[in-house]
Subunit: 170 residues, 2 copies
Amino acid sequence: MLTREVLAAEGARGLTFRAVDAAAAVPPGTVSNYFGSRDDLLTQAGARVYERLIPDGAPAAEPGDRARAMRELVERIAAFRSGYLALLELRLEATRRPELREVLTARVRADIDATVAGHAAAGLPGDATSVRLLYLAMNWLIVERLTLPGVFTGEERDALVTAAVERLAG
Amino acid sequence: MLTREVLAAEGARGLTFRAVDAAAAVPPGTVSNYFGSRDDLLTQAGARVYERLIPDGAPAAEPGDRARAMRELVERIAAFRSGYLALLELRLEATRRPELREVLTARVRADIDATVAGHAAAGLPGDATSVRLLYLAMNWLIVERLTLPGVFTGEERDALVTAAVERLAG
């Protein structure tokens, strides 16, 4: 998605109709024909990026398997670098745009609730609070990796994911 | 610090010499006399904001006191809204600026190491991994609160901080 690439590369301030036109190599004005306003462009970008970041499938049963699955999930999200950075840009932009904030809040809340419900349905150890704490810790680990990759080594990151799963929902 | 206010309000892309001149109500060109380049301006902003966010004093001994102290720390950081948002903007800008990335990496790494050392010196339960997991979870909790405040209620946030301290270093 070009909107996402522009967001990650240029920041929310750089996400203009003209910039997406240029990235898509289409005539000026093409993108603004699809979106009524910049608010729409940002809001749709937020909704779409989010779809690709949501994990699919049921959680694994064994603690060792779950730690591995979580390491893979963190890898997968971090590998979708432009998507995750675009979401961070959108979060910052949301502090200035109530409509975007509303869309993102609903998506994030629904995602957390679904993760909590999936965890409970699978009969795994750890309550809603555990799952939420995992969500918090894993998100900042990805921020750390994508923005300041030298803070933790790959080995340290893996150890943190494993420990988070074991200590919070082991 | 005006640089920080401009960063939080306008994003890293909006942090120009001219914008800081305007925010400071000084003649155009004043700020560029103090900073050799925009890289310098951003890098110094990063270093200074960080200083104000670092917790001071030794950690409390009792788990209940520590949970309360952590809730207060999270409150204090979240209340310094423009500082925290400016740091997030700087992290995103660091993905595009190696010099800024180096400065921020050194600061964050030193801060985490100092927190781990302080925790150990106080003889508190929980190892370096616990302290790092707390750092991760608390940072994203603050991101959530400042960017999408409707995702968790204040009560839910307090419960998450208390549970994080108890379960990770209780």
